[in-house]
């Protein structure tokens, strides 16, 4: 089955990342790189998003002009920072991958087709 893992950052996590020294941050990125390498046979596609302050949202109105606003579609303390599309047997395998994710503290798993 195909699933998308959505990696969700929290304010707390962003602060921690910012507070890190260069060495520490490098080690964190390395851990992420290792995770992608170890799971490369299951990952079909992945994307890392630019920070949320770069987001622009377009709201299409029936019969009216689309409204363009600065910022994400929903303001919140938790924002999606990336995606990985994976091909695994079932939810348990997807859960196993998510459990070993070494970076941001929340991962949402959705079946995809």
């Amino acid at each position: 089955m195909k699933y998308v893992l959505m990696f969700v950052e929290t304010e707390q996590f962003a602060k921690e990342l910012e507070a890190m020294g260069e060495l520490e941050r490098d080690a964190a990125y390395e851990a992420v790189g290792r995770w992608f390498a170890e799971n490369s046979d299951k990952i079909t596609h992945h994307t890392h998003l630019a920070p949320v302050h770069t987001a622009t949202t377009v709201r299409l109105q029936r019969g009216g002009e689309p409204v363009v606003t600065d910022g994400p579609f929903v303001e919140g303390k938790e924002v999606v920072s990336g995606f990985a599309e994976v091909e695994v047997a079932d939810l348990d395998e997807a859960l196993k991958m998510a459990r070993s994710w070494p970076a941001c503290p929340i991962v949402e798993i959705r079946p995809a087709s």
Partner: protein, 407 residues
């Protein structure tokens, strides 16, 4: 053993026969069709037919063959447009191919952590124990439509999210087993805490919880916590008769008529617990809770209770599974082992640490009891009133109201 004939099929017998066969049928249809929802619908349909017809016609000699035939016929009917599955079902003859008892897989799927706890409970009751939607609704005093919706959503999620139908891998198993045990324990508590009057009309969840624990213990003999839970349930049940008086009022442990306790069942459950503990040396919260209940159950009179031993077990339980409720229960043991003043101090400390206990009726009831013990009945009254305003359970309400009226 002959089943009662038409017109005299008791609710208990009906429940027992359905429970024995529903899960097995669901498991074989599940392996055959590979679709949880479709298999479950067929089983539920067969159960509903049985619940309608058996009270009138009597229970058939071979209920499993009867269930199978009804489900198969129904399946051929509803799967008309799904030629692949229909063909599989059409080839299937009774007796169904011999296979190991795969109800364990069924339990793990129903209790998957990707489902909400409420859905896990409803699904387990329905799929593994064979309760109808109406029976589940009655047992939890919620509208039938709510249960139906919960079940539909859960089944849809199992299919669409790819929740597997198998026993979890070894590295996942301890955690997943904890989830299954939690579901059984919640079921047991729900049934055990409701009074007999409430239960008269509903199917007894305590029966289902014990049956599930026994099924699990039979399939997983090397998991002492499973045996611990089974022993815990049996030890509690062995004292069940003494928990309510003739007027359906809750009777406190100290006031219970211990001659109503089933000493034989207590002895057997204690022996079961000891065997599991000695064979594995892997203590866990259910084994320790069962040991605490066994300590109470072994005392011939309330005054014979080995409180120091119970206190030691509570310390162990707190270490294995820290929880404010356990600390509250420990405070009660402390009252008898060391005195009410010490227990009151413990409650004050606990309250500072755990503001949530403010909403827990037994916290206030315990404090009231302790205040009476130290000769402060007026202070006690205020806490009894608090407790009364917080509980929804009629038997507990009655007990607290009685205290307010009499003391």
């Amino acid at each position: 053993m002959t089943e009662p004939g038409p017109g005299q099929v008791s609710r208990e017998v009906l429940a027992r026969v359905v429970r024995e066969h529903a899960g097995r049928l669901a498991a074989s249809l599940m392996s055959l069709l590979g679709d949880f929802s479709a298999a479950e619908d067929l089983v539920q349909d067969a159960i509903e037919t049985a619940l309608r017809r058996w009270p009138v016609e009597g229970i058939p000699d071979r209920p499993e063959a009867w269930f199978f035939t009804v489900a198969r016929r129904r399946g051929l009917d509803v799967l008309r447009r799904e030629s692949n599955r229909r063909a599989k079902l059409a080839q299937l003859q009774w007796p169904a191919p011999a296979q190991p008892d795969d109800r364990l897989q069924l339990i793990f799927t129903c209790c998957h952590p990707a489902l909400s706890r409420a859905a896990q409970i409803a699904l387990t009751l329905r799929v593994v124990c064979g309760l109808s939607t109406a029976q589940i609704a009655a047992a939890f005093v919620v509208p039938e439509a709510t249960v139906a919706q919960r079940l539909t959503r859960a089944k849809r999620k199992i299919t669409q999210a790819g929740i597997p139908y198998r026993i979890p891998a070894a590295d996942d198993l301890p955690q997943r087993l904890d989830g299954v045990l939690a579901v059984i324990y919640l079921l047991f508590n729900e049934g055990y805490l409701s009074s007999t009057a409430e239960r008269a009309q509903a199917r007894d969840l305590v029966d289902d919880a014990e049956w599930l624990a026994a099924l699990l213990a039979g399939s997983m003999p090397n998991e002492p916590e499973v045996t611990g839970l089974l022993a815990l349930i049996r030890l509690q049940r062995a004292r069940g008769l003494a928990r309510f008086d003739g007027a359906d009022h809750l009777v406190l442990l100290a006031d219970q008529d211990r001659s109503l306790w089933d000493r034989e069942a207590i002895g057997q459950a204690t022996a079961l617990l000891m065997r599991a503990a000695r064979a594995h040396h892997r203590p866990g919260p259910y084994q320790v809770q069962a040991a605490i209940v066994a300590c109470h159950a072994e005392a011939q009179r309330f005054d014979d209770t080995d409180w120091p031993q119970i206190l030691v077990l509570y310390d162990m339980l707190l270490y294995l599974a820290p929880s404010p409720i356990t600390r509250l229960n420990r405070a009660i043991a402390l009252r008898y082992a060391k005195g009410p003043e010490e227990a009151l101090m413990e409650l004050t400390e606990l309250e500072d640490l755990q503001a949530d206990l403010e909403r827990y009726p037994l916290f206030h009831a315990t404090r009231a009891e302790l205040l009476r013990d130290v000769g402060r009945p007026e202070d006690a009254r205020a806490y009894d009133e608090r407790a009364l305003s917080l509980t929804a359970n009629p038997a507990q309400q009655a007990l607290l109201a009685e205290r307010l009226n009499w003391r």
